[in-house]
């Protein structure tokens, strides 16, 4: 906690918690409740509610889960940042995949925390992000750093990878994306090269691990 002279008014950081699991929101609420320099002003259980609550309360910091019904976290972050370009948002999620992290950061998140680390990092991260800094959990940062110089998959390559993950052969992928089988082969070759994968299944594994694609 920052030491503040007693006669000065303490700035209270107003927080919005967005998670579809009540038990996580409850934990966050109680932890924030122990701090005199922050308060939880609203909760939401999906992306749509998050946007509503943000409009209504203008919190200083929003804590955002990524996997939620109706509207996921990334879409909610983009929508909130469209309306409020200086919105400060911290992503809370269970897994660290570097591509998913980059997606969240590009959508406008300033922090990215693993839920397993919340008890140690949440309060500090809220203060840091409120103060204008960016913060990532160490495990998250390591994943991002490891792949920082890799060339990213193009949207087309990502859709090919998604179809591979669903068990489609090149011919079926070609039919679904209205491409020739030859060009699908080209995309697959590029995907393997960019991910450093040995084969198609390996590419799918890496894609899942790094958050490029989600499980169907």
């Amino acid at each position: 906690m920052v030491a503040v002279p007693k006669d000065l008014e303490v700035t209270v950081i107003r927080v919005l918690a967005v998670d579809d699991h009540a038990v996580v929101r409850d934990g966050i609420a109680r932890l924030i409740g122990t701090q005199s320099d922050m308060e939880l002003v609203a909760e939401a259980s999906d992306g749509v509610e998050a946007i509503e609550q943000f409009r209504k309360h203008h919190p200083d910091v929003a804590l955002m889960d990524l996997q939620m019904p109706n509207m996921g976290g990334i879409d909610a972050i983009s929508a909130i940042r469209d309306g409020f370009p200086d919105a400060r948002i911290i992503v809370l999620t269970t897994y660290a995949g570097d591509v998913q992290v980059m997606r969240a950061l590009k959508a406008g998140a300033q922090g990215y925390l693993l839920k397993g680390m919340l008890r140690k990092e949440l309060l500090e991260t809220i203060r840091a992000v409120f103060g204008g800094q960016k913060r990532l959990s160490a495990e998250v940062a390591a994943g991002v750093a490891q792949h920082a110089l890799d060339s990213a998959l193009s949207p087309r390559e990502i859709s090919v990878l998604k179809l591979i993950a669903c068990g489609n052969a090149n011919k079926e992928i070609a039919a679904q994306l209205k491409l020739t089988e030859e060009s699908v082969k080209g995309y697959v070759k590029n995907i393997l090269l960019k991910l450093g994968a040995n084969d198609r299944t390996h590419a799918v594994t890496l894609g899942l691990k790094r958050g490029i694609i989600d499980l169907p």
Partner: protein
């Protein structure tokens, strides 16, 4: 000798015959020379050797087909059970992720609240070290759930998976790792593959963590109706009581045995003090390869295994 002018033979088997006849007139004078009639009885179709051979063939084929059908049914039932298990596992993973894991993550926050409220002292120290263990447990639970979730889509090539795993594990120690593959790699059923992978992972982890080995070698042997896995090291080996009961507080060995049993495989672990450790797993049965019987190629619309 008969008085009739007729003669009848019933039941003549097929063959060539000569009919001889002598007769006398009313005065009893015999025609000594008699007369001859040669004739052949052709065998009926069911009396031919060809027919009998074909019949034997047919009976044999029917039995062979029945046998194949039975095998196919067994393999099919096994596969259906495995498919059910894949689905069930995905469902369990989803449930664990949505309930247990989130609950633990939420509870850890509430314990942190207690920690924030406690004044410095013995209770706070104790709580903090307990919370550290809790963090570790949550990470392990998260990784286990992730394993469950992703296994249905991980690489189908067991050798690739084991090579990556082995190389990753040995970077933490001083041992070298080598993987040997014999026979042509085949597609394995996802569950069988996962279980083999996890048994190998446990074996490799043990070799790295407790074995004190210089060399660790894993082998995958693809045979016609069998897949074998071997993991051996030249480390210090396990004393007999560990081999029998496992290390206190570790469930690795019994876990390996349970996994082997679940896929109908045979697991042998051999080790001696100073003699290294070798685990050998052999997984039999058509279900390993999820392969349809030969004649089903001529049947329409079977799902092909990719």
């Amino acid at each position: 000798m008969v008085n009739d002018r007729e003669v009848q033979y019933s039941n003549l088997p097929p063959g060539s015959y000569r009919f001889r006849v002598m007769a006398s007139n009313n005065s009893g004078v015999w025609n000594e020379k008699g007369d001859l009639l040669d004739f052949t009885i052709d065998p009926a179709y069911y009396q031919t050797g060809w027919f009998r051979a074909s019949l034997a063939c047919l009976v044999f084929l029917v039995f062979a087909a029945l046998y194949q059908y039975r095998l196919h049914r067994l393999a099919h039932e096994f596969n259906v059970r495995l498919e059910e298990r894949v689905e069930e596992r995905t469902r369990i993973a989803r449930d664990l992720h949505d309930t247990l894991l989130q609950t633990f993550q939420g509870l850890m926050l509430r314990f942190q609240v207690v920690d924030e409220l406690l004044p410095p002292g013995k209770a706070k120290d104790e709580l903090q070290s307990t919370l550290e263990c809790g963090d570790q447990a949550v990470v392990e639970a998260r990784n286990a759930v992730h394993d469950l979730r992703s296994s249905a889509t991980t690489t189908n090539d067991l050798a690739d998976a084991l090579r990556a795993l082995g190389n990753e594990l040995v970077t933490k120690g001083t041992a070298t790792f080598r993987l040997v593959v014999e026979g042509a790699a085949r597609n394995l059923h996802p569950i069988v593959r996962d279980e083999i992978y996890r048994i190998a992972r446990e074996a490799l982890r043990n070799a790295v963590a407790h074995g004190g080995a210089d060399h660790i070698e894993a082998g995958i042997i693809y045979e016609k109706h069998l897949i074998q896995l071997r993991v051996r090291d030249d480390g210090k080996g396990m004393p007999p009581e560990v081999l029998e009961k496992g290390r206190a507080g570790h469930y690795g060995l019994s876990g390996m045995r349970e996994r082997a049993r679940a896929i109908g495989a045979k697991l042998t672990i051999s080790s001696g003090q100073g003699a290294g450790t070798e685990i050998a797993l052999s997984v039999p049965g058509p279900a390993v390869y999820g392969k349809p019987p030969f004649w089903s190629r001529w049947l329409p619309s079977r799902r092909t295994l990719r």
